[in-house]
């Protein structure tokens, strides 16, 4: 007859394997595991800050009807480029780098520890004639060199910019409402 003593070993191996797998599976499935590690924390903070800054800029300034609200961001996009660049830059940098709590008032502001957040902003619109998206630069604090680790924050704005055949806006020659996406890349130097 075949010697079947060894089958005990096999069975023992199976049994041990099944027990281990079942236990470990039960235990691990009951918890979700997040590691330690501070990777991406600065990204999270930057993204929150950039979103907040864009939200502040997109809050309308007067209280007339919903669609005709004129927020600073909308005015910047609807207005001539040179003016809007400087306005956007000043406003955005002030919001992200500016006032901080925890510092005593009246102290020499030059000594306060400013943040060094840089940004590069553009807006994207859709060309109504060929259904392609076009991006136009808006403002930046300095040019990107390509080595920065950036985070992107975006904000939708509805603009209604005067347009004509001579000066189309995003391919549109009539004055009508457009939805435009403002994108800002933020990084810390």
């Amino acid at each position: 007859m075949i010697n079947t003593d060894g089958q005990l070993y096999t069975i023992e191996g199976f049994a041990a394997a099944l027990i281990m797998i079942a236990t470990a599976y039960l235990v691990v499935n009951a918890t979700s595991v997040y590691t330690a590690g501070d990777t991406h924390i600065s990204d999270m903070q930057l993204e929150a800050l950039g979103s907040d800054a864009l939200t502040m800029m997109a809050i309308p300034t007067n209280t007339t009807l919903y669609l005709t609200d004129t927020s600073p961001l909308r005015m910047i996009i609807e207005n001539p480029v040179s003016v809007s660049n400087a306005t956007f830059r000043a406003m955005f940098l002030d919001l992200t780098n500016g006032n901080k709590t925890g510092l005593p008032i009246d102290y020499n502001k030059a000594n306060s520890t400013m943040d060094y957040i840089q940004f590069s902003a553009s807006y994207t619109c859709r060309n109504t004639t060929n259904n392609q998206t076009e991006s136009y630069p808006l403002s930046n604090s300095r040019n990107l060199t390509g080595g920065e680790h950036t985070v992107r924050a975006t904000k939708w704005v509805i603009v209604n910019k005067a347009a004509s055949v001579a000066t189309p806006f995003c391919g549109s020659t009539t004055k009508q409402d457009h939805a435009v996406l403002v994108e800002v890349q933020l990084w810390r130097d």
Binding site: N3, G13, T55, L65, Y66, N99, K100, T101
Partner: protein, 784 residues
């Protein structure tokens, strides 16, 4: 022959089994490592917790334990009903914070640090150190913060959120747009009957909550929510509602505020909770007496208000115009061809209630103020003491210097570690750089004071802020008197402040209202432990003449000085004098006069050698007014007993029909002998009272009888026995075992100085079983 060797099966089986085990083992091992990570729990995610807290505060409106429509968390009085703090106005408006929520969140006297904040904002089992601070950009308001001050050298996580704080809307009613001259023409108001003198004017403001909230074309950020936000109504330029030549003819005051719901039912009668008003910039309690309005009045309603629960609310303001006697307009007030009538002067041109709505003409819309919210989460045990930077610890102590207005506080630096520069922030916009400055506060408020010290190497430390609270007592008076101190009196928190009230000559205090509650006519008042703004207001009236209602004791013997314990009456003023007077006799002045209260005077009269009789009691106030109680006080001469008979040795002078003295045991008597009358017997005695007035008779007697009608009588006669008046009687049946003493009152003047005065005792019994015992008969009087 042998079959194939199967010994190798043993090894193969073993190896197969072991391989399976191994594979499973490797697989399990690869799953396990993640489990060990949690052992390193709390110290990792400071930034994550800070981010989460930032989201909760900036984007979440907070959650009370009951639904928000009943009571949002910022209206709850304690933290127990709050599940989670959140500062946003609503879920639809992230990053827009509500002013009221911000105020409550950072107010450490409302919620207790750190437990409330840990359980309702930070969450988690581990007690992180935290610091949440909010600064308004471009404002001089110091940053608000709650939490520990986390040193810059320890590890912490932080997040910064940009927010806007929404200020509530303000309704502005410019009363100068009210029609001024149009209705001055009497013919323009034919509905007013001639002679009618309407001086009451109603002005109605409508708050239509559904119209405000259901406006979908408006950005929800600027929505006015009357149930959750403060409602402020400013009515300005009231002094321009009247024509220039009649400006001083009327005084305007707001006499009533009622709130009516859309059914027309009266919603509430005053006092209305959560409501303050400011007249010409000064805050008044709604139940205190309000002065006339010169220029503007502001009403401020804090939620929860009545329009929290109802849809349409009409706020009816009733203005009353009181004619002013100093009117300088043509014809004065009520004379002339066109008597001035109030309603013609304060009449607005609105044809419908003033709407509290989104029209910028009516209401200043909500404004947004940019702010920054920063949250830091750190490790380590909580410390609520000074920060430690480079061995430098900033601290200070302070105490009140002197009381009064303004309030001066001494600050003393107690920082440790060598330091050279000081920067004090006194919380009211001023600062100092001395080491132990003295600062004067001129306004009420809670001032957060911090000290920042710097050492020579440039390190600095800021102390824990301390709050100096100064409260204010507004002391006002009407005309004709003053209160000291007066006006807006600053009081250090928790201390006392006394006020003295002095009416002018000829006036007295009419009423003293402390916080709107009448305290009567007190002349001084002390606020104890002032922890909130209080008010005291006094009104004066022409001093009334004093009146005297009673005097206790009301009689005295003219051989002593008597001390009056309660001369009762009304309107007694300090400095009053008291006297007894009687026509034809010199006055008896009162000495040691003590005006205990306007209703009581204590004094002393010296009655020696004064004439007996009825005297008037007079009280004269310092201003000359007087009052009198006629015949209120009786001066008596000491009594002299001129006749006494105890029946011990006989019954001299008594004419007895039948009866005798007895001395048996067991009978009611005094000493040995007693007089006894039985059956229908009587006895009388002529006793002259010549030379005496105010006759008093006293005797002791006891009656035994067994039938009604068998009585004992004690009588006297003033005409020699012709007619008798009863002194006293005992009604049978009665069985008195001991003598009862009877003392008569002063007998009528007929008994005075009367040679024909007689006394008589008689019994109207039916047998000798009816017995009357009489003893110790005496007659006293005042010698003439």
């Amino acid at each position: 022959m042998t079959l194939t060797g199967d010994n190798g099966n043993l090894s193969i089986d073993f190896l197969v089994g072991f391989t399976i085990f191994l594979l499973a083992f490797i697989w399990v091992v690869s799953m396990i490592p993640g489990l060990l990570i949690n052992l390193q729990g709390y110290t990792i995610d400071y930034d994550a917790v800070a981010y989460r807290t930032g989201v909760i505060l900036a984007e979440d409106p907070g959650e009370p334990s009951l639904p928000t429509s009943i009571n949002p968390w910022e209206n709850l009085l304690s933290s127990e009903g709050v599940i989670r703090f959140g500062l946003a106005v609503s879920k639809d408006t992230p990053n827009i914070l509500s002013q009221k929520k911000v105020n409550r969140f950072f107010c450490l006297s409302e919620f207790s640090y750190p437990i409330d904040y840990q359980n309702r904002t930070i969450f988690g089992d581990y007690l992180y150190q935290f610091n949440i601070s909010l600064i308004e950009m471009g404002s001089d308001h110091p940053p608000r913060f709650v939490g520990d001050i986390i040193p810059a050298t320890s590890s912490y996580g932080s997040i910064r959120r940009l927010v806007k704080i929404k200020e509530p809307s303000i309704a502005v009613v410019n009363a100068s747009s009210f029609d001024i001259t149009g209705n001055y023409d009497p013919t323009a108001r034919p509905d007013l009957l001639s002679g009618e003198n309407e001086t009451v004017h109603e002005f109605i403001i409508l708050i239509n909550k559904s119209e405000l909230l259901e406006d979908t074309v408006r950005n929800p950020i600027y929505q006015i929510d009357p149930a959750r936000e403060r409602t402020i109504i400013n009515i300005t330029h009231l002094d321009q509602t009247m024509p220039l030549d009649r400006k001083d003819c009327f005084n305007i005051s707001l006499t009533k505020i009622t709130i009516i719901n859309e059914m027309g039912g009266l919603f509430v009668t005053p006092p209305i909770p959560n409501y303050k008003y400011f007249i010409d910039g000064v805050q008044y309690n709604q139940s205190s007496s309000k002065p006339y309005i010169n220029n503007n009045i502001s009403l401020l309603f804090d939620p929860p208000t009545y329009w929290s629960v109802t849809d349409k609310s009409y706020i009816n303001l009733t203005f009353t115009l009181t004619p002013n006697s100093t009117c300088s307009g043509p014809g004065g007030i009520f004379s002339g061809p066109d008597p001035v009538r109030g309603s013609r002067f304060l009449n607005n041109t609105l044809t419908s209630p003033f709407g509290y709505n989104y029209s910028p003409k009516n209401v200043i819309q909500p404004q947004l103020r940019g702010s920054v919210l920063e949250i830091k989460i750190g490790s380590g045990a909580r410390t609520v003491t000074e920060t430690v930077i480079e061995g430098l610890v900033a601290a200070f102590k302070w105490d009140w210097n002197v009381g009064g207005t303004p309030i001066t506080v001494n600050f003393m630096d107690q920082s440790t570690g060598s330091h050279t520069d000081y920067y004090w922030d006194f919380g009211d916009g001023t600062s100092a750089t001395l080491n132990n400055p003295t600062h004067t506060y001129t306004n009420r408020g809670d001032y957060t004071v911090t000290l920042t010290v710097k050492n020579s190497t440039g390190g600095s430390a800021t102390s824990q802020p301390q709050i100096i609270k100064i409260r204010e007592i507004t002391a006002t008076t009407g005309a004709n008197g003053n209160i000291s101190p007066t006006g807006a009196v600053l009081v250090a928190y928790g201390t006392n402040q006394a006020f003295t009230i002095t009416p002018n000559t000829g006036y007295q205090i009419a009423d003293v209202l402390v916080d709107g509650v009448s305290n009567g006519t007190i002349s001084s008042y002390t606020f104890n432990n002032v922890v909130a703004d209080r008010t005291i207001s006094v009104s004066f009236m022409l001093a009334l003449a004093p009146t005297v209602t009673s005097i206790t004791p009301d009689s005295g013997v003219n051989t002593t000085t008597i001390s009056i314990t309660n001369l009762a009456g009304a309107n007694f003023l300090a400095g009053a004098t008291v006297k007894l007077n009687r026509t034809g006799y010199p006055d008896i002045p009162g000495t040691s006069v003590n005006v205990v209260s306007p209703n009581q005077i204590n004094c002393t009269f010296d009655l020696t050698s004064k004439t007996a009789g009825l005297w008037n009691v007079a009280v004269i106030n310092a201003d000359g007014k007087s009052g009198m109680l006629a015949n209120g006080f009786t001066i008596t001469a000491p009594l002299k007993q001129f006749y006494y008979e105890g029946f011990e040795s006989g019954s001299t002078g008594w004419v007895i029909t039948a009866g005798s003295r007895q001395n048996g045991a067991g009978i009611p008597k005094n000493q040995t002998w007693v007089m006894r009358l039985r059956n229908t017997n009587s006895m009388y005695r002529p006793t002259s009272t010549a030379g005496y007035n105010n006759i008093i008779v006293q005797f002791a007697w006891a009656l035994t009888s067994d039938t009604a009608g068998e009585n004992a009588y004690a009588e006297y006669s003033t005409n020699g026995g012709t007619s008798w008046a009863t002194l006293s009687l005992i009604n049978g049946p009665v069985n008195q075992l001991s003598l009862n003493i009877f003392t008569s009152p002063i007998l009528p003047p007929g008994a005075d100085n009367n040679a024909n005065f007689q006394l008589r005792f008689r019994i109207t019994g039916s047998s000798t079983a009816d017995i009357l015992y009489i003893d110790d008969v005496s007659v006293s009087g005042v010698p003439i």
